[in-house]
Structures are given as C-alpha cells and as structure tokens.
C-alpha cells in the first residue's frame, strides 16, 4: 500500500459545518454535526449504513433544508447563495453514472459546459491520463465501461472542474483494490494542490490511508474525530475499534470494510 504525504500546509478553512441538524420526513437524521475541512485537507466522514453520511453531503450542496446550524463555504453561508456554493464544489455522487450513450470525452465536454467551464481537449486528455484511463477506450461509449472506468471519468471531471472543494460520496464503492489505490493517490494529489476534500465512506482502511481527519458518524451524530499528525497517519486499529463499538452500541451488524 502506498504511503501518502499528508498535510499540505494550507490552512484556509474552506468548508465548515456547525451544529448541523437535518430532519427528513419528520425524523432527525443529523443532530449537531460539526466539522471543518481546510484547503489541502482530506476529511473522511466514516459511518455505517444510515449514519447520515450522504445526508451531510446533500446538505452541504443545499439539496436538503437545514433545521438548525450552519454550513459555510469559504466563509459564506450556503443558504444565502446556494448557486455560488455549488459553483465552488465538485460533487462526485456514489456510483457516478455519467451518460452511457456518450464517450468519455463527450461526457467531460458536456458536464464541463454544464458547469460553465471552458473545455479544452488537451486538458481533458491530461485529466484522463491522471486517472489512468487508457487512451484507446476514451472514444468508446460509457456503456462499454466497467464501474471502475466510469468512476475514473467522473474523477477526471472533478479534476477538470478545478473547484476549491470536492465532495466524494462513497467514491471507492465497488472498485477493485488497485483502482482504489489509484483513486487514493489521485485524491492526495488533489489535496496537495490545495483542494479541500470531504469524502464519505464506510471503508475504514481506505479512510485511514488517505484522510487527514476522520469523523465517525453514527445515528446522525458525530461520535468521534481522529486527526493525523505531521508524523503519523491515523491509526487504523483505533478507528476500527471505535467504528465497531458504535456498531455494537446500536446492536446492528456493520461489516468491517477493507480494500
């Protein structure tokens, strides 16, 4: 497994959630969740099914109304200008499925135009190189791609959008170990370029490998937070024990995830 260089030296706070409470269908799904992600930092929200991970991301994007608390993007309230907040964010949904009737280049071109970004063939090729998508498949329709290849195109899109913040929803779900490793490498590269990255995952091992901070989410509450230091990555065992403890607390069985 590749060891990554953590802490890129950026200190600007890009994304901040304070005492976030969200209710869906009259039921509290997030209660007092607070965290922050600085520029150059990878923050992994770790939790089992129904912990509130995806809800957190959708709240940051302004898709879910916040009952109380606040979310700030570059020190601006998301609720004040959702469109501006979204402009600052690249979002990679779980199992991102781009258009199957388009090839990789066409998908990138279309979504970049949607975002109002200028499209450049060279930049697209460079991004696809960066995610290691073989050149010979780039002109094939996405319907012929494996899940990992599709994910690579989606990551290339996030790279090309060149936003300050990246939100990644279960980005390694369904990928094979080597693809996960490549993905983590790309994420670290992006963080090293100053991007603030918030990823939600239930992959304890992967999160410990790539993240500077890990927030352990359980039942809509942030029950623990772990940080890496300049010299030491987050200890997988510690996080795993905490993760398992939350599972036992709720009497539910959470599969321990690993690459």
């Amino acid at each position: 497994m590749v060891g990554y260089q953590l802490h890129s030296g950026f200190n600007t706070m890009q994304l901040q959630a304070q005492s976030l409470c969200v209710a869906r269908s009259g039921k509290d799904v997030l209660s007092g969740v607070s965290f922050s992600v600085n520029a150059g930092e990878v923050y992994a929200l770790l939790g089992g099914n129904g912990a509130g991970k995806s809800t957190t991301l959708l709240s940051v994007l302004g898709f879910l109304p916040i009952a109380s608390g606040r979310i700030r993007i570059s020190n601006k309230e998301v609720s004040c200008d959702i469109a501006a907040a979204r402009q600052a964010i690249s979002y990679l949904p779980e199992s991102a499925s781009l258009y199957e009737h388009l090839n990789a280049n066409e998908n990138l071109d279309y979504f970049l135009q949607l975002a109002g970004n200028a499209t450049c063939q060279q930049a697209m090729s460079a991004a696809l190189d960066q995610v290691s998508l073989a050149p010979e498949v780039r002109l094939k329709k996405l319907r012929t791609y494996s899940k990992g290849m599709r994910q690579k195109v989606a990551i290339a899109l996030a790279i090309l959008r060149d936003t300050d913040i990246l939100l990644l929803d279960e980005p390694t779900s369904g990928l094979d170990p080597s693809a996960i490793d490549e993905f983590h490498h790309t994420v670290r590269e992006l963080a090293n370029k100053g991007k603030a990255i918030l990823m939600v995952t239930h992959d304890v091992y992967g999160a410990c490998q790539v993240a500077d901070k890990i927030g352990l989410l359980h039942g809509g509450t942030l029950v623990g937070e772990f940080s890496a230091t300049d010299n030491e990555r987050i200890n997988t065992e510690t996080v795993h024990r905490a993760f398992s403890a939350t599972a036992h607390t709720s009497k539910t069985t959470l599969a321990t995830q690993g690459p």
């Binding site: 959708l58 994007l61 898709f63 469109a83 979204r86 402009q87 964010i89 979002y91 990679l92 949904p93 779980e94 199992s95 991102a96 499925s97 781009l98 258009y99 009737h101 388009l102 066409e106 279309y110 979504f111 135009q113 949607l114 975002a115 109002g116 959008r161």
Partner: protein
C-alpha cells in the same frame, strides 16, 4: 455562457439521444400517415364531386329530353348539391365522416331528402378517423408523457440527478430547456408533414400558421404538465401513471361526461320524427280533397291563391303544394333540431375548455370547416337552393304557363 451556447449544447446533447430520435421518427411516420390518409380522402371526395357534377349534368340532359311538362321536369330533374372539402380538410376530417356533404335533391319535400346519406359502416364511424387532428390532440400527449415523465426521475435512477443539479448554474432553466427542446423536436416532426401537405393543397398560409400555433400551444401545455409533474419526488412509474390518469380524465372522461350532460340538458327531436311527420303529411294528402291541401298551401303562399287545381285528374301544382305543406308541417321540429344541434355544439365548445384534447381537435375542425357549424351551413345552402328551385318552377306551375323546354336551361345552379 450565452443562451445561444447553452441552447447549442443541449441541441447537440439531444441529437445523441437515440430514444428521442426513435420517437421523432415514430411521430414523423404517424403524422405522415395521418396527413396522407386525410389528403387521399380529400382527393377522393373532390374527385367524387367532380365526377358527380359531370354525371349530374348528363343525367338531367337525358331526363329533360323526354319530359313534356313543368311538373315532370321538376319531378325527374335531380340536382347535385355538395360541400367541397376545404383545402385544410386533410388535417381534420371531422363531421365529414358522419354528416352528409353531398345530395341529389329534387323539388319534392326537402326534409325527406336532406337527411339522406351514404350507407357507412357504423363500427368504423364509432372508431373515428386517424387524422392529424386526432394524432395531435390525443396521441401526442401520450408520446410527450412517455418522453418527458422521467425527465428527472431517470436521472435520479441513474445517479446523475444531484450531479447535474450541483453542476448547472440554473437548474430550473436547464430542465425547462431540456424538456422544451424535446417537445420542440416532436412539434417539428409532427407539423412538417402538415405543412408540406398544406403547400401541395395550397392551404391559406394563415390557416396553416394558426393550426401550427394551436398545436404548438397545446404541446406547451402538455410539456408544462409533464415538467411540473416530473418535479414531483416520486418514482418514474408513479409520475407516468399520474400523467396517464390526467390524460384519461381530459381526453375521455371530461368530454364523455360533458356530452352526457349536454345531451340531457339540451333535448333535440329525433331526425326520424321529422321524417315520419313529413312523410305522413305527404302521404295523407293523397286521401284529402285537393282544396283542403291547397287552402293550407295558400295560407303560407298567397301569391298563388288564384290557382285552381284540376278536380278529376292528377295535378302537378297540387302535388308540389302538398310536398311543401309536408315540409312546412315539420318546420317547428326542423328548427328545434337545428337549433338544438347548434346549441349542443356551442355548449360542447365551452365544455372543451375543460378538456384540452377536445378543444384542439374542435379548433382544427373549425379551421378545416369540418365541424357542426360547417355542416349546418351546408344544410342551409341546400335549403336555400331548394327554395330557388321552387322559385323557378312555381311561376310556371301555378301560372299555368305552357311548357317550354328551352327555359329549363335557366334552372338555377347550386
């Protein structure tokens, strides 16, 4: 990014959508079929009219060679009346399938003749014609529903919805543009055969433009319905079922309910009653003393009161007098029948504002002059022509004028 660039982007994107192309081809084929069948029917009707005009003239010439009196000339002389299809009728055949548009009338009682029509298959009449008006009003909403109901739901299923919403600056404009482009493409596929047929048929450009505008407005209505419903946070199948229910309501239930209510509220005498009364009056006249019939006739037509019928032999003026008395006896029923039909048509027109498919179909039939008003206008023309025939023959008949075959050339044309 300029609006033009955004538009171009979405056009390029839509152009790569095979499902959209499939529907465009289907609509183009259906429209071509509908317009083509209407075009062929109009051509057939025009050819029939032309053939009948020629045959009618020839037939009268043959009959008039042997007639020896004004009475027999009026009796044996048939006259063609017709309502030629308008040059937009190919788009909406309307009541031309069920109401008569051609007659051969003679100077007998008119009411028995005016409701005559060609024998048609009632099952076919019940199904109705697959014309452009039917396609645009009833089929197109279904195609739009199929194409647009999962505008957002399909993206949610594919996991792209939040990605798109988070990426585009103005999601509302984006979805609206995506829906409008698809509806616009369908509109062009639908209207192209109509316009081409219109150019061939030399349809008045304003009529074509108005028809296209009506169809356009109608498709916008359904596009907006689909668009608004697609925003509903439900699965594609729930949205699809809801839109189908809306279609059934507006295309079937409301028109059917309105027809039942209007028919009940506006009673109309049966055509058979008119025919029976007229026939009974005419037949009864044979057994009445001629003076009784003539006095009834002279009450309405005092200008011929000086005429005295032959007492002991058949008398043509008396014969035509009781024919007219038969018509006049049914006058109140005929007026009630026509007024009732007109009132029903007006009320149905108002009710169709609650049923957009019917509203569009009726509007296109109005433009094509194939609606109830056009049918009643034709009947009025036939009545007026029949009156002209009487005005031509009566001075000769009741004035005891000697028969002059050459004067038959002056019989008024329809």
């Amino acid at each position: 990014m300029s609006v033009l660039n955004v538009f171009t982007r979405e056009v390029k994107f839509a152009a790569k959508d095979r499902t959209l192309w499939l529907w465009l081809i289907v609509v183009l084929l259906l429209s071509t079929l509908a317009v083509g069948s209407g075009f062929i029917e109009v051509k057939h009707q025009n050819a029939t009219i032309q053939r009948l005009i020629d045959a009618d003239k020839q037939d009268r010439l043959t009959e008039f060679e042997t007639v020896k009196s004004w009475g027999s000339a009026a009796y044996y002389g048939f006259h063609l009346t017709y309502a030629a299809p308008s040059n937009f009728a190919y788009a909406a055949m309307g009541l031309r399938d069920t109401q008569p548009w051609k007659h051969r009338v003679r100077m007998l009682a008119l009411e028995g003749q005016i409701y005559e029509r060609d024998v048609g298959n009632p099952s076919v009449a019940l199904i109705g014609r697959f014309d452009f008006a039917f396609l645009a009003a009833f089929i197109m909403p279904l195609i739009l529903i199929l194409l647009l109901h999962d505008l957002k739901a399909s993206e949610k299923t594919a996991g792209r919805f939040y990605l798109i919403e988070a990426t585009v600056g103005q999601p509302l404009f984006f979805w609206l543009l995506r829906a409008s482009l698809r509806a616009g493409a369908l509109f062009l596929s639908l209207v192209a055969p109509l316009v081409i047929a219109g150019i061939i048929a030399r349809t008045v450009p304003a009529t074509l433009a108005l028809a296209s505008l009506l169809v356009f407005a109608y498709l916008i209505f359904w596009t907006m319905l689909c668009f608004l419903t697609s925003a509903w946070r439900r699965s594609g199948s729930v949205i699809l079922m809801s839109l189908f229910a809306l279609w059934i309501g507006t295309a079937v239930l409301v028109p059917a309910g309105a027809k039942l209510a209007i028919d009940r509220w506006v009673p109309v005498p049966a055509g058979a009653d008119i025919l029976m009364l007229q026939r009974e009056t005419v037949n009864a006249a044979w057994d009445l003393p001629k003076d009784v019939t003539m006095q009834t006739f002279f009450t309405g037509h005092p200008e011929w009161a000086s005429y005295t019928p032959l007492k002991n032999s058949f008398d043509w003026p008396w014969y035509y007098a009781f024919q007219q008395v038969g018509d006049e006896k049914t006058g109140h029923l005929t007026a009630a029948y026509n007024n009732g039909r007109l009132l029903r048509a007006r009320l149905t027109a108002w009710a169709s504002f609650l049923a957009p498919p019917s509203l569009l179909e009726r509007s296109l039939q109005w433009l094509a002059e194939t609606d109830m008003n056009a049918s009643l206008r034709y009947e009025k023309k036939v009545r007026a022509y029949h009156s002209k025939l009487r005005e031509f023959y009566y001075p000769y008949l009741f004035g005891n004028e000697p028969f002059d075959k050459a004067a038959l050339k002056n019989i008024p044309d329809f």
